[in-house]
Amino acid sequence: MNKKPIPTIIGVGRTKFGEHYEREPENLIEEAWLKASEEAGIERKDLEAGYFSDYFLPLTNKIGLEEGFLSELSELHIPMEISRSFSSALMNACNAIQAERYKLVLVGGMEKMTDRWDKIRDDLMMLEDPWSYYAGGTPEANHELLLREYIKKYGILGEDLEKLKIALAQIAVKNHFHALKNEHAQFRRPITLEHVFKARNRARRMLGLFDFAPISDGATALILASDEIASSYTDKPVYILGCSSATDYITFPSREERTGFLATRMAVENVLKKAGISRKDIQLLEIYDQSTVMEMISLEDLGFAKFGTAWQYIYSSCEDYKGYYEIEGKKLFVNLNGGLKADGNPLGATGGAQIYEIFKQLRGEAGERQVKADGELSFGCALELEGFGTKAYCHILGRNVL
């Protein structure tokens, strides 16, 4: 029986995230993809297909059919598909490789949110859920509602509640700390707990400005090959051992589960099964910290901490932060690029930055950010979300084929 091809990353590239006032989206994706191509050592004409992602480009930049401008840019006439998140583009690309349709494809994501600075929150909210938008909801509101549901459900009170609030602030502080070493990050400045708490006081809520990821411009790209041809390009391939996705209702209030994301829980079970590994094998996590709450609940949804307990581990790990969370004796490196909070969150490109980070870390090429695990650094997992937990994508990357 023929062995199924394994989708293999042979090169990655990205731009700096942040505000790129002077640049067209074309420049951004071009930069990301040329870097990825260079790292992979491929020629433009080697590509058989392109899988791209963006949420709002037709709205923010009025560029028409994205595939058309990408064709013009690359002078390629290969099949191209656009989807929303980078992870969805990547999953489609993996499916195609596994189905032996293609052997070498480009996956790219881009977003230019700051060009529509004054309207982007309305767009985000409308995408998240029209009925919540009609009722007056904002992109930030559901995070706070989820947090309040969480506190109620697990009966977190008094001193524990204060610790939870500190733990959430520590997440932001920790992600800014990681971003200091990330040359591509949007925010490369340290923040303190005081910054986070001041912003919360200003907002008169549990979550303030520093609890949320920014809006950003940026692009990311990677070259995906079948494992068979990957070895002719690199001797340090990174394999995508599993990918999985799940979907939940668009309207957050109408979901049964409102202290976490069902989609994440389902996606992670499937991806572990597909990759054939268990949680204890995973040392690296890139998770979707659109807010500090999302980083906390994702640790639970992904199964690394029991429900209602993640904040305790975050709190104790961050009292004297050593570069990782310690959860039940296990070291977990989380959001080494600074996460969405500090690295930035250009929607369609965000997932690409997560994969970029895991790729670099697994290859030992993360420079200043390179972490040292106990034993070999073998597996990383990326969680990307669309909407407010409406869709979850999990990818498990590994240095070796199992």
Binding site: W131, A135, G136, F252
Partner: protein, 507 residues
């Protein structure tokens, strides 16, 4: 730019908070559905339509929104959260309305969570003045504050009358007020207008009368402050209150709905039409609803027409006419009209103008005196035969003076004189006075009402209360007295009043 079909669909669901229940598994949905997601194909035809319009919910969790999305910016800061109905079978997003949150207010969310809330029909968000006005009922207020939760229990009528009359009524005055030297005036919250008040009043009238909404065959809405120059308020009232026979497949109501305009008598003028239409057997209309609603306009003080800015109010009144379970029969009427331009607003002008001192003698007094006197003559009545006299009330002096001129004493005209509490609610003004009297009248008492509409004319009616007025009284908590003297009234300053008055129009 708004999209008409999207607007229609969102309002159709959101104005009434329509939902569905699967009769197989019991799951409930916010939104109209043909199938249950859980039961699939076998649930087709087994979905029951429900709505949350007369229900109360619970605010489960909430947060503060102080940086709203663009269309909500005019609302300022507000509370937003999750509201559950039917013990959590349905959960919807919602914002709290009728609540002013100041910049430095500390909010204790825990004290808000877990409290009962009532859905309120309001403007959804700001749009440009050229666009369709979006509305929604995903706006809530606390059930234990100003606006109480009231069930709508339909009654089978048990008594027929020979004469048509009022079978129920409802008055809606907003929670917000402004104090003037000699009176208080009602002020709309920023998401209210004459459309939302009309729907509220109609809802309250249905609750009070117990009349089945499907048996109302005609609805008239009288107003001079419709935010649309072209597009009736009555169609919104008919759709939201589901008046007349409902054709669910097409989303159409089997009812005749029309707006009328004649300054402050736009509603009272239609009392006789409503009475006639229910009396005429071939109309096959059992009940007709007349609503007077106004977000009375006034130029800012100091500008031409700004004199009105000391008197205008906000609110609506709804009366249901029929020939079954009548609480006040119509004994007779008399109307007068002359072409007297004492108050007017030209097309595309935001504020009305008036004829100053000429609004008195040759306008208000002449017409009311004539209509009331003619009716009393026609019915051979003397002032002492009449228990209550109610007239149009643009201020305190005019109605007092005209009542005295006609020979009425304080005990006859004071019960129906409410302008000092609510301001001039224009189309709703004399009807509010009538409602105040009906709130307290005993059976077999006579009420004389004389409205006034600039332009000019007056409608005088004589009503005689029946025994049934008492049995229906306990069906309404939201009485005139309740709205006039309420611990939850909120007084605003002039600047806030002007801001609220200008409403949710995008600038």
């Amino acid at each position: 730019m708004s999209s008409e079909p999207i607007e229609r669909r969102v309002a159709y669901i959101g104005d009434r908070l329509r939902g569905s229940r699967c009769t197989l598994c019991g799951k409930e949905y916010f939104r109209v559905r043909d199938y249950c997601g859980r039961c699939g194909r076998k649930s087709f035809g087994k979905m029951q339509e429900i709505d949350l319009f007369y229900e109360k919910g619970e605010l489960e969790v909430c947060t503060l929104i102080n940086e709203p999305t663009n269309k909500f910016k005019k609302l300022g800061s507000f509370i937003y959260g999750i509201v559950s109905f039917h013990n959590g079978k349905i959960r919807v997003p919602g914002r709290l309305t009728d609540l002013i949150i100041n910049e430095n207010d500390e909010i204790d969310f825990a004290s808000l969570e877990g409290r009962e809330v009532v859905p309120r029909f309001r403007r959804r968000y700001a749009v440009k003045r050229s666009e369709i006005i979006p509305t929604i009922s995903l706006a809530f207020t606390f059930a234990d504050e100003y606006y109480p939760h009231q069930e709508y229990s339909k009654m089978n009528p048990n008594k027929d009358y020979d004469t048509p009359g009022i079978v129920g009524y409802g008055v809606y005055i907003s929670r917000f007020r402004i104090k003037e030297p000699h009176m208080e005036r009602s002020v709309p919250f920023i998401d209210e207008d004459s459309i939302t008040a009309a729907v509220e009043a109609g809802k309250l009238a249905l609750i009070h009368s117990g009349v089945d909404n499907a048996r109302i065959g005609k609805v008239y809405v009288g107003t001079e402050s419709n935010p649309y120059a072209v597009k009736p308020i009555a169609s919104k009232v008919a759709q939201v209150l589901k008046l007349g026979e409902e054709d669910r497949a097409d989303g159409i109501q089997g009812v005749d709905a029309v707006d009328t305009e004649f300054a402050c008598k736009a509603a009272t003028s239609m009392f006789k039409d409503a009475a006639s239409i229910v009396y005429y057997p071939k109309s096959e209309i059992e009940y007709a609803m007349v609503i007077g609603t106004d977000n009375s306009q006034a130029a800012p003080r100091g500008e031409p027409g700004g004199e009105l800015d000391f008197f205008v109010g906000y609110g609506a009144c709804a009366f249901i006419f029929g020939m079954k379970d009548v609480i006040a029969e119509i004994e007779g009427w008399y109307s007068v009209t002359s072409d007297t331009p004492d108050f007017w607003r030209r097309d595309q002008e935001p504020y009305p103008r008036h004829g100053g001192r000429f609004t008195g003698d040759p306008a208000y007094f002449k017409h009311i005196r004539k209509a009331a006197q003619k009716l009393m003559d026609k019915l051979k009545l003397k002032p002492e035969d009449i228990n209550y006299f109610v007239s149009h009330q643009p201020n305190i002096n005019f109605p007092t003076k005209v009542a005295k001129e006609l020979g009425f004493k304080e005990e006859q005209y004071l019960p129906g004189l409410k302008v000092a509490k609510f301001g001039n609610t224009y189309s709703g003004a004399s009807p509010t006075g009538l409602a105040a009297v009906l709130d307290q009248a005993k059976p077999h008492e006579r009420i004389l009402v004389a409205s006034y509409g600039s332009g000019a004319g007056s409608d005088a009616y004589s009503f005689i209360t029946t025994n049934q007025i008492l049995e229906k009284r306990n069906r309404q908590k939201f009485t005139i007295e309740y709205q006039a003297e309420n611990p939850f009234l909120y007084y605003v300053d002039y600047t806030t009043y002007r801001k609220f008055k200008s409403g949710l129009e995008a600038t």
